[in-house]
């Protein structure tokens, strides 16, 4: 096993395994289920004046203060119409837990490396930097979200 391939282990872990899926706009995303701490319905939120606009606010997660990032604004998608409550996906990152605000939660899916591909080159730059790759499902595409880069606001910033 040790000399079998030079491919970094990292890639194998990323290209197969279980993914927690969710919807933002008409995009279908997945994050590695091992990086998801929990999924919550919309929480009371404290806005942070003068913060970058992708930051929706702060939530109290059992005494821990967690920053919530609006994924629509993060991906530069149009703001959501209607008043349906958004969902929190709390992901574990190097800098601590961060909540991603998404439209809807999907299933947890098993993915196989055989249907994995790098993200298309012509993807919009705002999304491209946050997406690791794509799983070609039968009826649609599942975009693998890089949670570390998503919560790092320096990534994809247009000055």
């Amino acid at each position: 096993m040790t000399t079998e391939t030079m491919t970094p282990k990292f890639d194998i872990a990323q290209t197969s395994g279980q993914f927690s899926t969710f919807y933002v706009g008409d995009l279908y995303f997945g994050v590695d289920v091992l990086h998801v701490q929990e999924v919550l319905c919309f929480q009371p939120m404290t806005p942070v004046p003068q913060a970058p606009e992708v930051i929706e606010g702060l939530i109290n997660l059992r005494g821990q203060i967690v920053t919530a990032i609006d994924m629509r604004r993060r991906l530069r998608l149009p703001a959501r119409t209607g008043c349906q409550a958004r969902m929190n996906i709390v992901v574990r990152t190097v800098g601590g837990a961060v909540s991603l605000l998404v439209d809807e939660i999907g299933d947890v899916l098993d993915m196989d490396a055989s249907i994995y591909e790098r993200p298309p080159e012509n993807l919009d730059s705002s999304a491209k930097e946050l997406i690791r790759g794509v799983y070609k499902l039968k009826d649609r595409l599942l975009l693998v979200l890089d949670e570390e880069r998503s919560v790092d606001l320096a990534v994809g910033r247009v000055s």
Partner: protein
């Protein structure tokens, strides 16, 4: 395979030993003849050597062994201590530290074998041994004073028989080994005896103390933080319900949580000496390198601080000490020329003051040359000459904290690279502290650091703005100002578009929190709240929509996404479970632009003057029942007395005591404040009593404990609702309740004074005073004397009150907003029906000049604001004078 735990234990122990060694060796240099000190050093080295022999760390063993040999010579007086020897020993300590660090990271001793050092140590010891043998040939043969090499050998073989013996037998000279077995045996026995003693001493210490991981303490602190938050939630919940059982339980929870919090905080406290330990070494190395003579004096090494703060100030302290050695203390010849002692003195002081810890680093050197600082500031382009003209010396001195500033003539490799003082400042400010520098030419300079005791849980003021709650750390809070809507326009003025507020005669820059944060303003509010804040040494007023509450809050860090925002210091969780942001006062000040022009600002008055203008009062603090901190102005207190329980008698419904041939009625404060059945708790014996004089009658108030007398500026937060209390304020960083003496005395001693105030009858007194707190104090005094009291907070209110109903006497504070009480007097003079009303001016008690000015201005009388008796006397006089004047006019009218 070595047991990792045992090695870890060894490392911890060795590090402890080494830090003690550093200190002891420097100490030894001063007292070379101190045998106990030498023995202790010897023991420390010996312990390290013994253990590393056990682990087969050969490099370490080799150097410690040689050092031990050298020390042994010193101990037995065969070798004279010299600075070069001390340096050699210190070098050994450093080498040991290096090897230990390598063991810690890699588990191995590392590549450097320190052969050279070992050799030098050996030569140093050997050479002198020979010299010693020559000079005192008889000594070696005597059993009573065994020679040193044997001692060293004995030590090594008893603790690490194989390794120590094998590797070093040759080096020590085989010839000496012969015929020394008996002596060695003896040494070993001695050594063992000493060890047993050590073990006994150690085990005694171990019984009383246990070693706890810092991680566990941090975890505990976090949990206590959570508990405090939950407690706050319960307390809030409690206020919404009318449930006696819940009430009692939550009060108990409150008490226990506070105690637990205090206890856990204490476990995290460490004496500042922990950081200071390394400083003697720093000073010693510096003075050798610079050719200076510096003595380090440390004062208050047992002052305790939270360990997170200890960590944070470590580097700034070392830097400041280096700086003082390098730039502060002069060379010996320079000192002698200036007729000072050749030896410079560096003083470190630490002490607690008002909930903060002060650390001072002072030297008796040349002081900071203000002219050079000026010149440097211009050279470095920090300021223009005309800007410097406007600055006071103190402000110029503080320029050394600007980035890129260094006045050292030469850049040494020790300090003076122009980074440093600004780093010190930013480090200290990061933990909520302040740095200040004082200097007297030729006498030295002192850097003073003020830091909070702890960071984790702080008192904060909760405010609202734009519909959101925010917390302001109480440490930066100076006072709260509330103005009613109508008068707002007049109070906040604009200088070239910048809002300012006239506060007691000086201009305070104003920022609107809503604007700073880009929030919607709440529209026209009926009142304007200004929170006066201080960051660094600058003050500004922050206009907020509402002021809610003070709370103990637990500071939680913000995620890294928000780290770039300077407006917030963190976040906390409020009683209702929602998150609230903690404002960073410095950041808000910068964000709003009130600080931006700080160098240009013509601050002619200077920060110190502004400071002294804050209302200061002497307050007596005490404790009663569940009220941990209660206060009354000291000016109202006649005496503090202690009576034995047996002296207390019952008379009528209450308790009395015979006092100076009179009967002094006693009021149990606990009974008044906690009307529930708490009174069956036995009162302590003897009883502590605060005696109040009011005219010719006295009342004694029984309290549990007198805590303190403080003189402090008071930020009052007005809140009534509880019987017997006027409201709360922050004194010494803690929320303190103010007693309503009037109500307390009325409530419990009614029977004693009924009808006493009768003669004052229906006289109306108008009290015009800006501070709600002072107004309340004066009001309760007057009401107790039987007057009816009207209140006014400013000129407009006062005129309004005068229009409303006839008033017999007006009592107006000297600094009545907006323009002082003379404006009120002038307004009254204009109306013939008011012109005759006597006006008593209230001056700040410590300013006699105001009193003279008041009489000149046409006031009938002037008294100190908190001198209750004199105020009452004066009012009584004025009332009777007015009455007789009225009678005269009536008579005159009849005659005419």
């Amino acid at each position: 395979m070595q047991d990792q735990d045992v090695i870890r234990e060894f490392l911890v122990e060795s590090h402890e030993n080494l830090s003690r060694l550093d200190q002891e060796i420097v100490e030894l240099e001063k007292r070379p003849k101190d045998a106990a000190l030498l023995a202790s050093i010897f023991r420390s080295i010996h312990t390290i050597k013994g253990t590393c022999g056990f682990f087969a760390f050969s490099t370490l063993e080799r150097i410690t062994h040689q050092a031990e040999g050298l020390l042994c010579q010193l101990r037995d007086g065969q070798l004279e201590l010299s600075p070069s020897l001390i340096s050699l020993i210190l070098e050994t300590v450093d080498a040991t530290r290096k090897v230990l660090a390598s063991i810690e990271t890699s588990g191995e001793e590392g590549p450097d074998a320190f052969e050279d050092l070992a050799e030098r140590l050996r030569v140093a010891a050997q050479w002198k041994v020979d010299a010693g043998v020559e000079s005192a040939p008889g000594a070696e043969g005597l059993d009573a004073s065994p020679p040193c090499v044997a001692e060293a050998n004995g030590g090594s073989s008893s603790s690490a028989p194989e390794l120590g013996g094998q590797s070093w037998a040759g080096a020590d000279g085989e010839d000496r080994r012969k015929g020394e077995d008996r002596r060695k045996e003896k040494d070993r026995r001695q050594e063992e005896g000493r060890r047993e003693e050590d073990v006994q001493r150690h085990s005694a210490a171990a019984d009383a103390n246990i070693r706890v991981g810092v991680g566990l303490l941090d975890k505990l602190m976090d949990l206590v933080g959570e508990l405090v938050l939950t407690r706050n939630q319960i307390l809030q919940f409690n206020t919404e319900r009318e449930d006696a059982a819940l009430n009692a339980t939550s009060q108990r929870l409150n008490l226990i949580t506070s105690e637990l919090q205090a206890g856990v905080m204490k476990t995290r406290m460490q004496p500042i000496g922990m950081v200071w330990n390394q400083l003697p070494r720093v000073v010693r190395d510096m003075s050798v390198a610079l050719g200076k003579q510096i003595r380090l004096q440390m004062d208050g090494a047992d002052t305790e601080l939270d360990r997170t703060i200890i960590e944070a100030i470590k580097d700034p302290l070392v830097h400041l000490v280096r700086n003082a050695c390098d730039h502060g203390v002069e060379l010996p010849e320079v000192r002698v020329r200036a007729s000072k002692r050749a030896e410079g003195i560096l003083t470190l002081r630490a002490y607690h003051e008002g909930g903060q810890v002060n650390i001072e680093i002072g030297d008796d050197g040349a002081g900071i040359d203000v002219a050079r600082v000026k010149q440097k500031a211009i050279e470095k382009g920090l300021l223009r000459p005309e800007q410097l003209e406007k600055l006071s010396d103190r402000e110029i001195l503080n320029l050394i904290f600007q980035p890129g500033f260094s006045t050292a003539q030469t850049v040494t490799n020790l300090s003076g690279r122009g980074v440093g003082m600004d780093v010190v400042k930013s480090h200290v400010e990061k933990i909520g502290g302040t740095v200040d520098v004082f200097s007297r030419a030729g006498e030295g300079a002192t850097v003073k650091i003020k830091i909070p005791l702890t960071l984790a849980i702080i008192p904060g003021l909760v405010i609202t703005s734009g519909g959101e709650r925010f917390v302001i750390p109480q440490i930066s809070l100076l006072e709260l100002i509330r103005m009613d809507g109508d008068s707002t326009e007049k109070h906040i003025e604009y200088v070239h578009g910048t809002p300012v507020f006239r506060r007691r005669g000086s201009l305070l820059p104003i920022a609107y929190l809503n604007h700073v944060l880009g929030l919607k303003s709440a529209g026209r509010a009926e009142a304007v709240n200004i929170v006066v804040l201080q960051a660094e040494d600058r003050q500004f007023g922050l206009v907020v929509d509402g002021i809610n509450d003070t709370q103990e809050i637990v500071v939680k860090p913000l995620g890294k996404q928000l780290k770039g925002l300077t407006l917030y210091a963190g976040a906390t969780i409020m009683g209702d479970g929602r998150v609230a942001l903690i404002l960073d006062v410095l950041g808000i000040g910068q964000g709003s632009g009130v600080f931006a022009a700080h160098h240009e600002q013509a601050r002619a008055s200077g920060p110190q003057k502004a400071q002294s203008e804050i209302e200061k009062q002497r307050m007596l603090l005490f404790r009663a029942g569940s009220f941990e901190r209660l206060a009354v102005p000291l000016s109202l207190v006649a005496r503090l007395e202690v009576f034995p329980q047996s002296a207390i008698e019952r008379a009528g419904a209450g308790q009395v005591v015979q006092y100076r041939d009179r009967i002094l009625p006693l009021v149990s404060l606990r009974a008044v404040l906690e009307s529930s059945g708490h009174d069956e708790e036995p009162q302590p014996d003897p009883v502590q009593v605060v005696v109040f004089n009011d005219g010719d009658r006295s009342v004694g108030m029984v309290v549990d404990q007198i805590l303190d007398v403080v003189e402090e500026a008071i930020a009052v937060r007005q809140k009534t609702g509880r019987k017997g209390l006027l409201g709360s304020a922050v004194i010494g960083q803690r929320v303190t309740d103010f007693l309503d003496l009037n109500e307390i005395i009325q409530a419990a001693a009614e029977s004693w004074f009924q009808g006493v105030g009768g003669q004052a009858g229906d006289k109306r007194i108008l009290v015009a005073e800006a501070s709600a707190f002072s107004r309340c104090m004066i009001r309760s005094g007057l009401e107790m004397a039987g007057y009816r009291v009207l209140e006014a907070g400013n000129l407009e209110d006062a005129v309004h009150a005068l229009e409303g109903q006839p008033v017999d006497v007006v009592v107006a504070s000297w600094d009545l907003p907006p323009e002082g009480s003379t404006a009120l007097l002038a307004a009254m003079q204009r109306r013939p029906e008011w012109a005759k009303i006597p006006v008593l001016a209230l001056a700040d008690s410590n300013k006699p000049t105001q009193s003279a000015a008041a009489r000149k201005a046409g006031f009938q009388d002037c008294q100190g604001k908190f001198d209750r008796i004199r105020v009452l006397e004066s009012v009584a006089q004025l009332v009777s004078k007015a009455a007789s004047a009225e009678a005269e006019t009536v008579c005159a009218g009849e005659v005419g």
